[in-house]
């Protein structure tokens, strides 16, 4: 039995909705098969008003153990650091987060908002939002860079906008089954098993990438989305094409450029004019290279690839 509390700050509930799409295990399996005791969740909890406040106080006082504290959404600090623009159960949500993080065995940030600040922290960040232990790429965030939960781990970051349900359930199951020690985290505190390979790994458009055959417009069943349509698959860490979405597909397979939503900078270029769904280039060369590739290497590679490109690569080959 592991007690789990899930709260939302500056959130859209997208990670909750994603979580409810889970299978193997499903949200119900977590409760019935893995003994996860969901104390409260904003969308699923039974308790209203007064009873919830009693529960929260039992947790913060240590009267009831909090094994897993899941936070979705940003920590809202506006106005002027008070957090009054996001009040929950009678006080700023940030006050609850500070107290609950202290008593939690494990603290898990679900989704970009809770990890890096996400969309609400986009300039001018009107809600003065930040993630639990990061703001964009800067280590620290609301809890500070030295924060460790009672089990001795920093915040476990499960980014994505939203996070894939399997990324969420597998972390919860790992913790609940005593395998938290096997979790290895990268420099952004993301579980390495999910966030070491690239979004491009397993993409059905990889042959088009290799031959530099571009999808220059939307609505096509051929071509790579990297060269013109702003796809960030080659430099984004996620398993989106290894662990498919909704058991069916991925954005890049279906024809939508990857937005890089598991990385701290999302949304990239602060959505400034000219940056949405358009590859940013300098003299025809992408500003952001596939990870680890330098400019000279890129030019050599793509020149050769283009020259070697077979005729079929320009035809409709049902890559979706």
């Amino acid at each position: 039995m592991a007690n789990l509390l899930w709260l939302q700050g500056g959130a859209c509930s997208g990670n909750t909705m994603s979580f409810l799409n889970a299978e193997e295990p499903s949200a119900c399996d977590l409760v019935t098969d893995f003994g996860i005791n969901i104390l409260w969740h904003p969308s699923l909890g039974m308790e209203l008003g007064d009873n919830l406040q009693k529960l929260l106080k039992a947790l913060t006082s240590g009267e009831m153990p909090l094994d897993i504290f899941v936070f979705e959404g940003t920590v809202v600090n506006a106005p002027d650091g008070t957090g009054e623009w996001n009040r929950f159960a009678g006080r700023p949500m940030k006050a609850w987060v500070a107290e609950l993080a202290k008593v939690a065995n494990f603290t898990v940030a679900i989704g970009d908002c809770a990890t890096w600040g996400g969309i609400p922290a986009t300039a001018p960040n009107p809600s003065e939002s930040e993630g639990l232990q990061f703001l964009k790429r800067n280590h620290g965030g609301f809890l500070g860079k030295d924060y460790k939960s009672k089990a001795g781990l920093p915040v476990i970051n499960v980014p994505g906008c939203p996070a894939h349900p399997d990324w969420i359930t597998q972390i919860v199951v790992a913790v609940a089954t005593g395998r938290a020690g096997d979790l290895t985290l990268d420099e952004f505190q993301r579980p390495k098993t999910f966030f070491t390979s690239f979004t491009q790994t397993g993409c059905t458009r990889n042959m088009h990438f290799a031959y530099k055959v571009s999808a220059t417009e939307f609505g096509q069943r051929k071509g790579c989305l990297f060269y013109d349509l702003g796809c960030r698959g080659p430099m984004t860490h996620s398993p989106c094409n290894r662990i498919l979405w909704n058991r069916q597909s991925s954005k890049t397979r279906s024809g939508m450029p990857c937005l890089g939503c598991t990385e701290p900078e999302f949304p990239f270029f602060e959505l400034m004019p000219g940056t949405v769904f358009k590859t940013q280039t300098v003299m025809g060369v992408p500003k952001d290279m596939p990870s680890g590739v330098d400019k000279a290497g890129y030019i050599k590679l793509t020149t050769a690839a283009k020259a070697a490109s077979p005729a079929w690569a320009e035809e409709d080959i049902f890559v979706v």
Binding site: S13, E47, C240
Partner: protein
């Protein structure tokens, strides 16, 4: 002699997607006054200012994780009208299908995950249906809870075939869609729909075939259906109806009695050259305002939209049309019930005042004879509304579930009509201008206004269904729809006011679009039952 008025602050009322603070005044066990407070401000309109014209396609689906497809629909059509694009037939169908499957997902998810678990509340232990309700609908362990929550993930698998993932894709873009589905996608989508129908709609929800249910056109037909076979009475719909009557959910939650729908699902042959003015005549599901007091229908037009801020935390003039708003949040958001107390504006129709949004509104509009002769018409819910003497918690939720079955047919229509070798996208020319995009999210009227100037967003405004429903009092002091619907609710146990929850959840508020908790000054006092 009447007893003293007792004030009950409930913070938070969960399970409305984000949290809603409600203050109710109770006299003799009945709610006599109410205030609904949205307490989260994220400032999406502020973030979108000066950004790329297409930034709304990325940002607005993330305003709400439940209705992302609906936001995306609005964002795309708003740009289509601003840029005067041509949208190919296939793309209209692909947008509609995405919107529909998101709504189908929400039916069992909201019904089991959010709404029915209240029927297992111990306050209803005396109901003769209680034992059966607990067996089926108890959270996580109830037999049908588990089926419902698990099945709810299936329809959005179709969304993933179109947009790669649900939630939070941006596959709808001005000029069409990013995808180009293949025959395999279409056949797989059929398989998913059939699975959803066979394993939930027919076997669990209805206890009969969809075709049999579709024969129901009136209240009398419905009651006859209920008695026709034990499978009907014992279906989840049958039990919902019978238990709702038993616990009195038909007796409260009336609301303002006037209703709005923007209409939705543009017809694939009628909206390829989208304009703001041309939308009403192009919709499969017509728009409308239904006045339940006068029993009249008329079309809805965005130009009548006004937002009052006398009781909302914005420092700007009240009564503005969204194109004229500037979204200036009040720095110090102190709760003052006589003054400002919510982040939600009070939306109203310039002629008809406060309107309720949601599936009930859509169904009451669907029963009207206004609009085009070819548009969808369904008299059932309007007939029940009249026979039962108006709206209630029971009818509002029933309307939501009833509509889903018509949506199922529209999903089939989209799959039948895709022409796989025709275009999905026509590249538009970017330009400055004003646009408006609307739809009906599962929980009600949603629309976006955009003004593009100098190649960037000058103004972006969103009015969500919850803005209509949970808005505070308007400038003339009139209560918002949910505030009004709380009046008259009986509270059996003020320490567990499940009835307030029923009313709020019957609106399926998306408070994440505006939301959260509560009265800073009182701290611990907040959720306490106190006598004023």
């Amino acid at each position: 002699m009447p007893s003293a008025v007792q004030t009950l602050d409930i913070s938070p009322v969960g399970r409305v997607e984000g949290d809603l603070d409600v203050r109710v005044d109770i006299q003799d066990g009945v709610v006599v006054n109410a205030w609904t407070q949205a307490e989260l401000f994220r400032g999406f309109e502020v973030i979108l200012r000066d950004k790329d014209p297409q930034a709304g396609l990325v940002v607005t689906p993330r305003a709400c994780g439940i209705c992302g497809a609906s936001h995306l629909t609005c964002a795309a059509w708003a740009l289509d009208t601003a840029w005067a694009t041509t949208v190919p037939r296939n793309a209209i169908l692909a947008r509609n299908l995405g919107q529909i499957v998101e709504s189908l997902q929400s039916l069992p998810r909201h019904h089991y995950g959010l709404f029915m678990i209240d029927y297992t509340n111990k306050n209803y232990a005396k109901s003769k249906y209680y034992e059966e309700a607990v067996k089926r609908w108890a959270p996580f362990t109830g037999t049908n809870y588990e089926i419902g929550v698990t099945m709810s993930g299936r329809p959005v698998e179709i969304y993933a075939l179109l947009g790669g993932q649900w939630p939070h894709s941006s596959y709808m873009v001005p000029g069409g869609v990013m995808c180009a589905p293949t025959l395999t996608d279409v056949t797989r989508a059929w398989g998913i729909l059939e699975h959803f129908k066979r394993n939930w709609i027919e076997s669990v929800w209805l206890g009969c075939t969809l075709e049999r249910y579709e024969q129901i056109k009136s209240y009398d037909d419905f009651m006859a259906w209920l008695d026709e076979r034990p499978e009907h009475a014992n279906s989840d719909l049958g039990l919902y109806w019978r238990m709702s009557l038993d616990i009195g959910a038909d007796k409260y939650g009336r609301g303002v009695g006037k209703y709005i729908s923007w209409g939705y699902l543009p017809h694939e042959d009628k909206y390829q050259k989208p304009t703001i003015e041309g939308r009403n005549a192009a919709l499969i599901m017509k728009s409308g305002v239904y006045d339940g007091h006068a029993d009249t229908h008329k079309l809805m037009d965005q130009k009548f939209t006004r937002e009052d801020v006398l009781h909302a935390w914005y420092d700007e003039p009240g009564g503005l049309h969204p194109f004229d708003r500037t979204t200036k949040p009040t720095r110090k958001n102190t709760v003052d019930m006589a003054g400002k107390y919510s982040w939600s504006t009070a939306v109203r129709h310039d002629e008809d005042g406060r309107l309720e949004a949601g599936p009930l509104s859509r169904q009451l509009v669907a029963g009207g004879k206004h609009g085009e002769a070819w548009q969808h018409y369904d008299p059932l819910v309007l007939d029940i509304y009249k026979k039962l003497g108006g709206a209630s918690v029971m009818l509002r939720h029933f309307a939501r579930m009833h509509e889903g079955l018509a949506l199922y047919r529209q999903a089939e229509h989209a799959l039948r009509e895709f022409k796989l070798n025709d275009p999905w996208y026509i590249k538009p020319t970017e330009k400055d201008g004003r646009g408006w995009g609307a739809t009906e999210a599962i929980r009600g009227a949603l629309c976006h206004w955009i003004e593009v100037q100098g190649g960037k967003i000058k103004n972006y405004q969103i009015i969500a269904p919850t803005t209509w429903n949970v808005g505070p009092r308007s400038a003339d002091g009139k209560r918002g729809p949910m505030e009004e619907a709380l009046i008259g609710a009986p509270i059996a146990d003020p320490h567990d006011p499940v009835e307030v929850g029923h009313v709020c959840r019957s609106y399926d508020s998306c408070l994440v679009c505006t939301v959260h908790a509560h009265d800073a000054k009182t701290g611990e006092e907040l959720a306490r039952f106190r006598t004023a």
